[in-house]
Amino acid sequence: MNGYMGKILVVDLAKKELKDEPLNEQYARDFIGAGGIACRYLADMVDEKTDPLGPDNPLIFMSGLLTGTGGPSFTRWVAVSRSPYTTYYGEANGAAYFGTELRFSGYDGVIVKGKSDKPVYLYIKDGKAEIKDASGLWGKTTRQTIESIRKEYDDQRTRVACIGQAGENQVLFANIMTEDGHCAGRTGMGCVMGSKKLKAIAIRGKAKIPMKDAEKFREVARAAMEEVKTGFVTQIFKDTGTAGYVDSALMYGDATSKYYTIAAIPETTDLSGVSQSEKYQVGNTACFGCPVGCRKVLHIKDGPYKTEKPTEGPEYETCVVLGPMLMIADMGAVNHMNVLMNDYGFDTISSGASTAFAFYLYEKGIITSKDTGGLELKWGDINTAIELIHQIGQNKGFGKILQEGTKRMAARYNRPGEAMQVKGLEFPMHDPRAFSGMGLGYATAARGACHNKPDYYLVENGMGNPDLGLNPGDRFGDDKAQPVVTLQDWRALCDALGICHWAMMSTQVIIDMINASTGWDVTLDDIMKSGERIFQLTRAMTCKLGATAKDDQLPEIAMRPIVDSGQEGHVPNMAKMLPEYYVIRDWDTTTGKPSKARMENLGMGSLCGKFGIN
């Protein structure tokens, strides 16, 4: 099976059984890799009655088709399950070295079923897996866990994906963390891992990835590497990291303050990637085979939040959600909070937004210090924000309420429409009032408000994909239905291939690499159809798990204009874009499900019964 390792590991933690299964070839051909294949497996295993934290909900780790092959930034892997946080389809996408090592160990993926009665971790070396006791690791931070496991095997290149205390304590938005603060975040896959008492998966391998035509692959990968190396995004991100976007975000009104209600405070520039580079940066780290190296290493040497050693720097999303969103503009504090969250292992976006929502409710008098366990929530109060991180990570005190997320908080305090979320997942720091396309993307993405499928703000910033006709337009315009569909399909494909979104290369080199690796003979139309197939599959999955067309709405608070900002008082015209989008997607306007005809057209007719499509 060229292009794939051809094997998955199926683990039953209750029975302590491990077995190798061949990768389902038809799933691979239809759904390419990572989230595509994982969602297809998930469709066989869960339905609307499955308890997300019960033994019947599997946790599926899957690598992309090109992950680890040596193209530029082909590193990505996913963890997929029914989300305990949103209750719909959950997908967390990670990078660094875990997915690549998974393949080097001989597997395309790992399916974890059942629950262990005591803490365990999984150790995979060269195609052999073992379930190991993790009682000594339970309670450790993610950083300590990785170091302990590496020490145990005396091998710094053992790659570990693990949970911290947040996952152990069933924090609903817990992440799965790997080295350097890299995480598979959003939708609480770490919480599922914690429910199974699975502390970590550690991997080491020496296998190579089978390829149809390795010489041809090398030739194309070399051209791809050149394209990425000299690309615009690479040049910027190498210097500034993703936080380099902070300054642009201020200009566009993409970042906001005070729980999405006012323009971002000007002091936010202190958190930008440029300012980080000038003051604190001591180096970069890169994911496997990546010429971009967007991960900054910072050393805060003075002030109350100085660190003993260099640490991973916060990404753009984290800078904004822990910065201006809470009215904080202290780089040391933001860095400190980011490191804390990574140690506990939970989602910075959802937790930051939940914390900001609590501050917002407090300011309005809807909650008081009686609700917060005596804490006064004053905008800009760093100490309170840090205290809340500890409470969330330990799932205690007011943190117990924050970890439920803003959708449940809004229900609890009877403020419908004021939680900035779609399908229970909080908005990332790309405001739909600055880029209409993001609004449509948030409303329709399978996992809720997701800024990766699609990352339409990039298109409006001139970093789209001319090969697919994705060029900058009027960022406030309402003509986004078709381009958002195209970008979502394209990103579904990129994710399935395991390609990082920052590795921007022409579509032809990607097609050539797919063909050289697998021996297929696909064209742009074929792969776009695969992208659509994956996107529609994840959509059908989310609908099967309970979402309907009613859940495809932006909350009322997202429709309140902010005049005095780069948003210029604009709000996205959802009333026009959403129906157009539904027509292109061929979704039912009540159930939200793809039509039977479209499913058949995509070769998924046999799945209609499973998804209740008739």
């Binding site: 680890g68 040596g70 590496r150 590497m225 890169a286 085979g289 971009v292 050693k309 260099p310 991973e312």
Partner: protein
């Protein structure tokens, strides 16, 4: 700065580990040149992370390295520099 240099004939590679980002591209390219397979285990250049460090790496070369310079050609972080120099008489 921690620079190691390896040479053969007139070919030199200077490895400055302080600039390394740990992406392992050099190892992949090295393995492919020799074995026509992308396989880190076959690489003649070894990059490993120092224990407990965020971005500190050790770069070393196995005795089989023939200083072909391909690792340096693919380094995106200027950690590996290739140069040719005639030996002084």
């Amino acid at each position: 700065m921690n620079i190691t240099t390896i040479s053969r004939d007139n070919r030199y590679i200077a490895a400055d580990s302080s600039k390394c980002a740990g992406c392992l591209t050099c190892m992949l390219r090295c393995s492919f040149r020799l074995d026509r397979k992308f396989n880190l285990a076959r690489s003649r250049i070894i990059v490993s992370r120092l224990v407990g460090a965020e971005n500190e790496f050790d770069i070393s070369f196995t005795p089989e390295c023939d200083t072909c310079l391909i690792c340096a050609r693919y380094c995106s972080y200027d950690a590996l520099t290739a140069y040719k120099q005639e030996k002084e008489a």
